[in-house]
Symmetry: C5
Subunit: 331 residues, 5 copies
């Protein structure tokens, strides 16, 4: 985990006022914290332990939560405490021309007057839309509290999952297409890779369900009643994502069946060619062999029509075989 070069970015807003600036040290946040306006402190790259310690002191965060912020391999979870709520999410972003999914842990601390967010890495996040809304004075978010801000942040993460799902859907269709037209060992490998990524997405989304439910249902005063309907909406989205993931998994397992049977069918086709060739030429070669024998007393060899007759027999045998295969629908 790279902890150096962390960037601290502050939004402090109320319906009328808006302060937006980047600061260097944690201490600079204290002033904003005291104000009754909503303060959002976004920290890119988790800060060095010392900074975190000061942060802990400034915002009076429990040491277990600080440990969790530092540990970037966590499962999405929620911890509802008296003074604040701690939420861990996985922010997924598409990279390399939508072919790779990158996962980044986001920690959100929601208190009465401030929201802290910790991101793992600097490049790209899904919070841009939230920032734009805050900058827009007429936007609803300006008149709402920290719970609505937190909802918007979570919502932006969840919405991005749909983009990831769409990229998966594209790959799924590509595999389906390949499966019908030209299945090869690579196809299976791609199915396996996609399945793996789908499982990863699932691990990010499944626990989120409980996180959002807890946020909506818990009677913490930090979440106001008129925010709950928005959280239910996020919940519905999460369920829809889970649903789609399960469908993808079922489709992938159905595709494996198609793939395996196409391999068998290919072998069948190969075997048929071999069998047809062998079944036609073996009896003919045998016949030729018979009249290649050197017995002194082989009356047929002396017949004038012997040779044409053998050809006639051979052609007849070949035709019989071909009719046989035609009947068996091998041709």
């Amino acid at each position: 985990m790279k902890t150096s070069q962390n960037k601290i970015y502050i939004f402090d807003y109320s319906p009328e006022t808006l302060v937006e600036k980047e600061v260097k040290t944690i201490e600079e946040c204290i002033a904003f914290k005291e104000s009754p306006s909503v303060t959002w402190v976004n920290i890119d790259r988790v800060p060095p332990v010392d900074d975190l310690e000061r942060l802990r002191a400034v915002f009076s965060i429990h040491p277990v939560v600080v440990d969790d912020i530092l540990n970037v391999n966590q499962r999405p979870k929620i911890e509802i405490l008296d003074d604040y709520i701690y939420v861990v999410l996985k922010m997924l972003t598409l990279a390399e021309n939508n072919k790779k999914v990158e996962s980044e842990q986001v920690s959100i601390v929601i208190a009465k007057d401030f929201v802290l967010t910790f991101q793992q890495d600097i490049e790209g996040d899904t919070f841009a839309s939230v920032r734009d809304r805050i900058r827009n004075k007429t936007n609803k978010i300006r008149g709402m509290g920290t719970d609505y801000l937190a909802y918007k942040l979570i919502d932006s993460v969840v919405d991005n999952y749909f983009n990831v799902l769409e990229a998966f859907s594209d790959r799924l269709e590509k595999i389906e297409h390949q499966l019908i037209n030209n299945p090869n060992n690579n196809t299976l490998q791609e199915m396996y890779n996609l399945k793996r990524e789908v499982l990863n997405l699932r691990r990010s989304v499944w626990p989120l369900r409980e996180v959002v439910v807890a946020l909506e249902r818990d009677d913490t005063p930090l979440v106001k009643d008129n925010t709950r309907i928005y959280l239910r909406d996020v919940y519905d989205h999460v369920i829809q994502i889970i649903d789609t993931i399960e469908t993808y998994r079922e489709m992938l397992s159905g595709m494996v069946d198609i793939y395996l049977s196409s391999v068998s069918n290919k072998m069948n086709a190969v075997m048929k060619v071999l069998t047809i060739i062998a079944t036609i030429f073996m009896p003919l070669t045998f016949l030729a062999g018979v009249y290649g024998m050197n017995f002194k007393h082989m009356p047929e060899l002396n017949w004038v029509w012997g040779y044409p007759l053998v050809w006639l027999i051979m052609v007849t045998v070949a035709i019989i075989m071909l009719v046989f295969f035609k009947r068996k629908k091998w041709l």
Copy 2:
């Protein structure tokens, strides 16, 4: 999503009165809304955002619900609010000679005196039967409230799922028939396609279960007690559909086994033909080869009965092989 050319169709009825007409603008609905009679406003194609905004104002609907109406890729869900209930359904219709299932999102807003329904597309819906009932003065629906109307609308959607299931059942039987008589790679493809559509249906029906349960169990004053028994009936239908879907899935997975084994059996048959031919003609060809050798000292070649004797040996070998195959039940 096409939002233009939306059509607004109004039913306003009480036991004695009935007004039915198409209007052009949302504003024309206001008058009906005020009346104590039941008002059903059906909007084909979701209206432009501006119209929706006016609608929102007229019927005082929460912005989140308006967002949900606009988003046509939702999962069936229910949102029970103080003044109204919002329900999202998937209306499935059979197209192309029952071979394709088309899915359309239907949003229903149930308030004390009015019901709003939003359909995605103009052509065809399952509400025709409900309209006929309303037009019939003696029908029970005329004396009931918005909850009964909503029940009837949902019931018409659920009833149509049975038609879809029947179409699936036909396809399933067709595949079964094909599987026994002439399984080919296409059969598996069709199984996969059917499985996919069954999964889609499942995604439309599963969440419906919770929707209907919530509608029946929640103690909202919008649903009267004597309507609940009807909702329980819808619930039973939903469960029956889910049951049938699960059975179809199990049957499809059983069919995959049959298909894969039939592919193996086919290969077995091909291999047997090859083996029988090779096993009979290889020893014979070898024998012919032996007496085709040009050694100076091969006493057999000079025997008078050498040639017939070789034939005798060959026929004997062939018969022994055939008996062997007969015993192995390959013939």
Copy 3:
């Protein structure tokens, strides 16, 4: 659904009295309904809608329940209302020498003083034993209420499931036997058919579980406390049936593995024969071919011992090959 020719059969009993007779019209039941004695009206073939309407009026049944009675494709379910309980069951009977399972819907309406039962078809039911008990003056049933009668009716249906299970068990054993001795494509087909019927049975029994639980647990005054222990007994039977069904399903899926592997093993056997024959005769035929060449200068051809020597070589090659196969355990 054939609704004509329905037969109405009445039992009206108390500890001392018993009236048993067949009537023609619904109206004739009214007299019995009024009496405090237990009245059981059994209607074979669901009556025409008009009759049902009268029935509805006479026994004051909810229209939804009447709809359910008419719809014979229902899932087992229970509807506990204030005045009566409505139960739907699937009665299964074995036909065609135990090879086919026929399913028939049975609707039971349990009120304080009467029980109505509706059967789909005339021939055969599982209620014979209940009738015999009623006719026997000393039998416990004569002193009990409608709840005990309903218990006995449901119990007779459930008990018959055990017969169906036994028939399945026989077929399962037959398939197992076939699988070991002579597996063929038909075996798989039979497994699939059995699986299908097991799934059907499952669909009849699973929901019954909830039906019986509801009947036992609900605090409706229609079910007396001393009947509940009997219902728990029925519940135990239902669970046992479900258990057995699940075991059958697992066994069937295990059998598919055995079948598929036996197909592969057969192919293995075929391939081995082919390989042994080809591996022995190909080198020999080649050797014979070499000495069938017509080069002028082939010293071996003129050796006196050339021919026997070639035979020696050939036999040696064949023996080496056989030893090789013996070692590989292919022989």
Copy 4:
């Protein structure tokens, strides 16, 4: 079910006293029943119906329970009544050198002052250890009530399941060993048989879980608080057995994969031998065939070095082929 020759064996004990004797008739038990000491009546082979009827009268047992005792094909279950608790268990014993598992139904009736146990068969049970404890005056059991006795009886049955599991584990290891060293069709058969027995064990143990939970949690006065910790211990054992069973099932299904792939691998090996032989000798035989042709004008035939040259070509071809196979890692 053999009901004749049943044996009735009585233990009647208190901390100071112990009476142990075999009696002939049910009536002889009455005296013991009246005493405040703990009375354990063990009846081998379910008695004839008449005896049971007297038993029922003596110990005032509900007729449904008597029916359950007679029906030896039951699922483990518990019935908690006011005056006594009725428990059904499956006692499993290993027979035929640990190769077969025999199942026997045990019914236990636990009342305030007496415990009745019914076994299906005479030979062998798991209660010997309990008898020894009772005979030992210093043993804790002598100072405890019927609930502790019942716990000990159930515990002895559950403990024996571990022996059965161990026998299964041995067979599993044997199959694993066979799978690696010499898989044959018999191996699969044995996997199937084991799977079947594991499923049987599962059916005996799964419902036991609920039985023990009910016994521990129900607030019946028949189970004293200080016995509950022992029942929790039995519960933990049952869960552990279920756990192990599920693991065995997963391992068995993994083994099927290994078996099927080993069959495929064997076929691969066979095919390779065939292909190598055919690929080497077919071109050679062709070459020999060419120079066996009888054209008048074949200049090669008259060359002095023709014959050795052909041999040279043949050996070269063979070597090229062998190198090709070596590269493909088929050799």
Copy 5:
């Protein structure tokens, strides 16, 4: 179970004081037990039964718990009693260069003033970090009670599971790599072994979930409120481990598909080589055979260009076949 040579190691600490020493007999612990400071008695190798009996008397532990401590084949479980909590865990350690996982049972008894831990074996445990913390005077643990100590002990066990998972992940990647580059029968064997160990880990972790939940949720006074947040953290870790295990299982089952298909693909490749060779040389050998016949009247034999013509035909046939295979993409 080796019970001899057990080692008793005591930590007795308060914020200011720390006593750490090894004792020989159980009795030496009594003094520490009486003090209000936190006492941790760690016993390596479960002591002989006599010692345990004395221990039981000294610490007043229930006989069932003592039995559980002696039985080292238990499932993780928790028993919350009035005076103490009894927890069973599985401590896993990596051995043999991370290739083997060794499982050891750890029993923890948590009372108000003391914690007893029992380990199965002497070598290596995961408690070293806890010991270091206790020795460090400034560490938080010194100021906390037995519940925090117990948390730290459980946490150290759970944290080590992550190491085991990492070792599994390495093996999984190795198998994946092998699967792509050179799948052989050994690969499947390794998959099976890994699956088996994953199942074992699962059996150790699954029940732990309930243990930690019980510890956190139960309102025993032995666990203080400010320790619960730490236990929730352990719970999150356990869930994360379970999650990862399930993902591994799914990945392993996906790998089996890839393996089986790679076996089939290999066979396909073998078959193609055979078919190509046979299909090219069989017709050629037949042609050569024809002109090797000894008929007196075969005009072609006397043509001057007969021999070259035959070669021409042969080459043409071979080229046609090769083009055919090229088209079929077998080359």
